[in-house]
Structure formats: C-alpha cells, structure tokens
Amino acid sequence: MNRSHLRANIIIVAGILAAAAAPGLIAADLPKAETILDKFVEVTGGKAAYAKVHSQIESGTFELPAMGIKGTMISYRAEPDLSYTEIVFPGIGKMQIGTDGKVAWTNNPMQGPHIQEGAEKTQAVLTNRFNGELHWRELYKTVETTGIEAIDGKDCYKVVLTPAEGSAVTHFYDKESGLLSKLSVIAQSPAGEIASDSYPSDYRKEGDFVVAHKLRQSAAGQEFMLTVESVKFNPEIPKDRFDLPDDIKALVNKK
C-alpha cells in the first residue's frame, strides 16, 4: 500500500505542494495511464490486500533539515475518508490536520484553528480518501500518460490525473518497478496556490504491502523530509480520534 495521498496531506500541514508538466513522448508509444495506475496497486500489494485494509496508523518523523527542526509525526486514517495527523515540533508545538468526513480543518500553534473551504476543502477531500490508490477511477475524471521523464536517473512514466473538481496532479512511476517516484501537486491553501514536488523512496515491505518509508518534499524554497518508522494496518483506533477538536467546533458554531 502506498501512502502517497497521506503524504500529500502531510505536505499541507507544512503549507506546501507542487506541480509540473512537460511535454513527453507521443502518447501512442506509451502505456495507458490506467495500466500504470493498476500496476502500482499490484506491485505495492495487490487489489485483494488493499481491500482488506480499513484503517491505518503511521508514525515517524518530520524534518526541516535547513532549519535543524525535527518533529514527531503520527497519522490515523480510516474508511471512507476519516483522517487525523499530528506533528509535534520542539519549540513550536502541535500541528494538526484532519477531517471527520464533513469538516476538513487544520490547527497549529502559530496561525490557530482553520476550517478548510472551497478549493482547499476539495483537495483535502480528495487527499483523504482512504485507499485512494485503489479508487482512482472514482477520484479522477481523466488520467493520461503524457511522457517519460528521468527521476533520480531512472525513467518514469508521467501520469496526469485530473479530478472532476480542482487542479490536476502529476505522478511519475518508475518504468521498471512500477513504484511511484515523484508527485507534483499544486496545493490549494489560504496562502495561495503553492507548487510542490515530493519524492517517495526507501520502499520496503510492511505486512502485505510495499511502503515508501521516506518522502522528500520541496516547495517554496524549502525542503522537508518525512520518515516513516511504523505502519499498522487495521489497528484499533479510538472512536473519538476523528472528532473535531474544541477550537474547530467553536469555529463551526461561530459560522
């Protein structure tokens, strides 16, 4: 199971994401995007394995190397679109992002609580769909292979995924392994549209799945590094884990 959508979610916590698009080879020479996306599911565990997973907890670290800042990260997700991620940075505090399926929100000690709306919410809903890799046909209106690009010296198929609402995302899949090597996204945030590139790596086996354990992200002139240390599939998650925090409830009631 690849956690690319989860990773994209975490990028939003840091306030970033990116996009890119470049001409590629003639489409007729390339495999169909559908084939590439389905292959990714197969090489990371297979449809049957994905279908058996209904919730997940990931934990690890989140780092801003240029600033010497390193925090702990834990992320809870469950079907169909429940999500709660928490990153704690020494000297800053707890940064949170989540959704209870209806309200998508962020909260951090610097800017305070915030309810995501409009394009920002649309992207959050897309990002938080559990097993989004498996359900790409429901999430994206069109998918298209547009070329081949080298990522870290390896040729990758470039696949543009366009949702019914919101901006397209671009994935780069390793030609040989079928694994995702790069995601380019334009994050919709209150700060504006922010382009970001993310590079999953260090794919290793976790249970029935092959999971990326590192994700390097670059955006807005800064670099971030997510390191996954633990992945649990179908864990017990407290029922109230996805409830809205009090500050968010207060904002909802204030509207």
Binding site: M67, G68, G91, I92, G192, A220, Q222, K254
Partner: protein
C-alpha cells in the same frame, strides 16, 4: 516557517572573539572553502530573485574565491564571505562565528566580563545621541541598585559610550532605518557578559549627578526558547490591564507559540469588554513569521484578510489571518520603535494596512525578510533570506520600515517622571474611541 530575527545576526556578528587565531590546518582551510561555496551556491539557488538584483554573482565568486583560499584564519575567511553577502545590500544575510552561534558568547572587551548573554537587568534606547535607560527588570540587580528609567548611561566598563555611538552613527548612511537597532545592539553587547559577574556603569541620574555603580549580571529575563539551528533565546510575555480598562500585552520575541497565544487568549478572556487593547512591539526583533498572522487572528472576525504577501522564488504566499474562535473587536493600538523589526513590522504594518490597528511610537527597523539559519561546514552559522515581503498596503517593509500613525518619541524628562508617552498616547486614543 521562516525566522525573522534581524537583530540576531547583527548582535552575534559583533560578538566574535577578538584574540588572534592560530594558523589554519589544510583541513580547516578546506572547510572554509567549502563554506564559501555553500554560501555562494545557497544565494544563487535560493534567493527569491534569480537575477540577484543584477549582480554578476559568478564574477563575485571568481573575485572572492582566491581570497578565501588565501585566508590565514577562519576570521579572515568569514570576512570574505561577509563581503560577498554584503554585495546583496540586504538584511538577513550574514555569517555568525561558530562559537558565538553555538554558545552565544559575547566579547569580553578586555575585562573580566567573560562570555555570555547575561545583563544587569535594564533596557536602553539611544535617543538623540544619549543612551537612556528605558526600563528596569523587576527584582534585577539594576533595580536593587536603584537605577531608574530616564537615567543616562555615560560609561560602560570604564569606557565612554558616546564616542562609540557617534562612530556607529557616522559610519551608516543617513538613509538607513537600522540605526536604532544597531545602536541598541552595540549598547547591549557592552552591558552583556557572564552571569554573576559585575559590569561597571557610570550613569547620569535624575538630578544630573554622575553615579558609578558595579551591577551584577543575571541571565536574561524569560524562559529559554530553542528552535532548530537557532541559538537559545530568552522569551517572555507580560500581560496586564491598564487603567482605565485597557488590556496590554508586551513580549520580546515572536517565539514559543503556545505561551504567546495563551497570553493573548487569557488577555482577551479577562478583558473581553475592555475599552481597548495595546500590543507593545517596542524592542521586539521578530521571530517565527507565521506568528504574525496568529496574533492578528485574535483581533479580527473577517475572513480572507491578509497582512501581506511573501514572494519566494517561483511562488508567493499570502499571510492570511485565521480569525480565532474568540476575538477582540474593540480599538487596537500597536506600539513600535526603531528596534521593532521583522515579524513585528509584518504584524504592525499589516494591521495598519487593514485599518484594524493604529500604530504609535517611532519608525521601525525596516528589516523584514524571512530567513533561515543553517550551519556551515566550518562551524559558522549562516543566515539567508529566502523571500521578499510586501505589506498588504503595497509597500515593502525591507529598507523602509513602518511609519507610525502617530509618532511619539520618548524623552528623558518623561522617563524620569515615570511616564511612558507612547502608552499614554495609545490610551488617550482608545479613550477617544469610547466616546
């Protein structure tokens, strides 16, 4: 979350140890060269303006690289790198000596002060070429020694301070907005030293009589705040209710988000029906940039408001304010002075531009670029700006600063009388709003 601490590099850059340094080993020389290359490449690759304002950056590299290769000491190599950064003519680019970066060592200036950031417990401003005490830390050695606001400092460690002030003033362009900040740093550095050791200060007291005091130094006020590569800093925040019925929050840095926001939350809860609110940013050199919007969120219910926009290489980020669940909607006054820099200017400038606050005091430092700190291969610290910033009103703060709505200067007479004319002006304005 870029940091905005204009004063920090200025402060630390002057804290380099002065003793002669031993000759470099080949390995140390290489580390200095590697550091030079890292600084040069970082500016080339990360500066928000790929054209670097028209500088021929490669030519600057080719000119200075032989000098860093020939540098006999790390201090010499540092000077070459500082020269390179100075060509940008922008704040928030600087090299901090490794030991100062790590230990916050201060120059002992030949006496027994020793290294350290401890002080006698007083704050100063240079006003009309006079170094005036503007506040005394309660229960500090300065308070115990009877020092009062309004006293003038004539000598520190036996040396007259006046000539140093004049030298700094004369060396700077008359157009610079950084003068107050640099003069304040120069005085603070001379007062600083190792905790427990004394500093000899000659004052001119309230009766114009010279008073010589030896005052012990104590650790800076507040809790130690540590964030990433930044050296440890001391953070404090104070809240009080001023008569008549006005909330007042004063803090020295935009740090420790939880503590700062708790202070604002409590101030608003205890003073929800107050006639007005005063945020005192005098002497505040900045900190975590995002906290400017976080503080602003306590004072507006309007959505989609922003303080300004940060321009990065190939991207821009709006400094959007998220209204808090509880907000204060009454008159808001923000106090600034020449030592208010960076995040302070972003908050004050943005709130002024939005028409949400009236600013009182004196012109700010004009040092508002968001920057990062990183360590160089030779152990020195390297601060570099990654973005430009334009306040919501369309004006850059960098190099210009913020002009208050109502300019109010401190005077020795008023300080001696126990008055704070800046707070008084804000209170008078708030009272008028009530009517």
């Amino acid at each position: 979350m870029p940091f905005r601490l204009a004063a920090l590099v200025l402060l630390l850059a002057g804290a380099a140890p002065s003793p002669a340094q031993p000759a470099l080993t080949p390995a140390q020389r290489q580390l200095n060269i590697d550091s030079f290359e890292m600084v040069w490449q970082t500016v080339r690759d990360k500066h928000w303006d790929p054209k670097l304002g028209g500088l021929d950056w490669q030519a600057i590299h080719d000119e200075l690289r032989p000098k860093v290769e020939a540098a006999a000491t790390t201090a010499d190599a540092r000077a070459v790198m500082s020269d390179m950064l100075a060509r940008l003519k922008q704040t928030h680019f600087g090299i901090v000596p490794g030991d100062a970066y790590s230990e916050m060592n201060s120059s002992s200036d030949g006496d027994d002060s020793g290294p350290g950031d401890a002080g006698p417990g007083l704050d100063t401003r240079v006003i009309d070429n006079h170094v005036l005490v503007t506040s005394i830390t309660p229960d500090s050695p300065a308070a115990a020694a009877g020092v009062k606001p309004g006293w003038e400092i004539l000598r520190i460690r036996g040396k007259e301070i006046g000539p140093a002030i004049a030298k700094i003033r004369d060396s700077l362009s008359s157009q610079t907005t950084l003068l107050d900040l640099l003069l304040h740093s120069a005085v603070s550095e001379r007062l600083s030293g190792e905790a427990g050791k004394t500093v000899e200060i000659q004052f001119l007291d309230g009766r114009n009589k010279k008073v010589n005091l030896k005052i012990a130094r104590i650790r800076p006020r507040g809790q130690v705040a540590q964030l990433g590569n930044l050296p440890p800093l001391h953070f404090w925040v104070e809240t009080q209710t001023l008569k008549p019925n006005i909330a007042y929050v004063h803090f020295n840095l935009f740090f420790e988000p939880d503590s700062l926001n708790t202070a604002f939350q409590q101030a608003i809860r205890t003073c929800g029906n107050c006639d007005g609110f005063i945020i005192d940013l005098r002497g505040n050199p900045g900190g975590i940039g995002g906290l400017a919007t976080g503080v602003a969120g306590w004072f507006t219910d309007k959505k989609d408001q922003r303080l300004g926009t940060m321009f990065l290489r190939g991207a821009s980020m709006k400094f959007v304010v998220f209204p808090r669940p509880e907000t204060f909607s009454g008159p808001l006054a923000i106090l600034t002075d020449g030592c208010s820099a960076s995040t302070s200017e972003i908050l004050a400038g943005g709130m002024k531009d939005l028409g949400r606050a009236r600013v009182f005091g004196t012109h700010t430092a004009g040092a508002a670029l968001p920057s990062l700190f990183t360590r160089l291969p030779n152990g020195d610290g390297f601060q570099y700006a990654i973005a430009n910033y334009i306040s919501e009103g369309g004006q850059p703060l960098e190099g210009f600063g913020l002009t208050p709505d109502q300019e109010v200067k401190l005077t020795r007479h008023q300080l001696l009388e126990g008055q704070d004319p800046v707070i008084d002006a804000a209170v008078t304005w708030i009272e008028k709003q009530k009517k």
